[in-house]
């Protein structure tokens, strides 16, 4: 399976995402924002970072870059797309996922190992988890407050589209503790925390067993691999 990772001007975590894909057993493919070519990949990751310096709004200009026309078309056709942090912001700016992300309510940039509860496993990127499973992956953002109007929030809850919720502490004022979403079809997932930073022993969050041994993020990438084998 070939998984594309798109680099935008200001992307930071594109190489980490490619490494995570490789560790999961798939082949990472570097894609460039300025092209209209997905190079025949089977799935796409929109990585974290500060595309276009967060000018206009986080993800707003990246969402309108050349390659995103192909990404939107592919996502609407069912291709798995994962947006991490800035990638999640890009997904809401393209309206592939509803709502918006605004500055953290306390105004500070945060970086912490964040506990999450998996709320939905009906997606290409979460099928390897169990519903209610608690995972820990790093979170690092300044503008991660998820917002949507009440009707949208009720619909997201009613249709089971909330993929992840913050546990212990709501780190940024996100409404209903929402950390990540999936779309109706389950091929598009976006979240603020960074699964690609918890894929390799020695470099992940601390666990009860050992320091930096957390690899909960790897399941995102093995899930999409499994989805591709089954389809």
């Amino acid at each position: 399976m070939r998984v594309g990772v798109i680099t935008f001007p200001g992307s930071l975590d594109d190489r980490d995402a490619m490494r995570a894909i490789r560790l999961a057993g798939a082949e990472p493919v570097a894609l460039w924002h300025g092209e209209h070519d997905l190079h025949g990949v089977d799935a796409i990751v929109l990585p974290g970072g500060f595309s276009y310096g967060d000018y206009l709004r986080c993800g707003a200009i990246a969402a309108r870059s050349p390659i995103m026309a192909e990404v939107i078309q592919a996502a609407e056709g069912g291709m798995p797309v994962l947006g991490i942090c800035n990638g999640f912001q890009i997904l809401v700016e393209t309206h592939l996922l509803p709502g918006g992300l605004i500055r953290n309510d306390h105004g500070d940039f945060i970086r912490r190992d964040q506990r999450l509860r998996v709320e939905s496993t009906d997606s290409a990127w979460t099928s390897g988890f169990t519903v209610g499973q608690e995972i820990t992956i790093p979170l690092k953002n300044g503008e991660g407050g998820y917002i949507a109007d009440e009707a949208t929030l009720d619909r997201l809850e009613g249709e089971g589209l909330v993929a992840f919720r913050y546990l212990d502490v709501n780190p940024n004022g996100s409404l209903r503790d929402i950390a990540g979403l999936r779309n109706e079809r389950g091929n598009v997932v976006g979240l603020m925390p960074h699964p690609e930073h918890a894929v390799e022993p020695g470099f992940g969050p601390d666990t009860r067993d050992a320091m930096r041994s957390g690899v909960d993020g790897l399941t995102f990438f093995t899930s999409v691999l499994k989805a591709s084998v089954l389809s």
């Binding site: 206009l56 709004r57 809401v92 509803p98 605004i102 500055r103 309510d105 105004g107 917002i147």
Partner: protein
Amino acid sequence: MPTIVVEVMPKAELLDPAGKAVAGALHRLGHDRISDVRIGKRFELHVDGDVDAELLADVEKVAADMLANTVIEDVVTVEVHGASVPGETH
């Protein structure tokens, strides 16, 4: 040269953490009569030639589709400056 000014504000019902931080600083400096601050954006779009109804309609669309994210923001102003346009002169 005509300029089209577009102003965008965060939706009134949403928290504006940047505005809140500025309000907090003003209070610390003793400006107690300023009760709240909200921070928006002003875009100045410079135009070659005349502003006609077609261009204005295009700008209004761009304002709603790109300059603002209407999930979290409102377009509060689309105004033409420095040109004579029927009904739109400022």
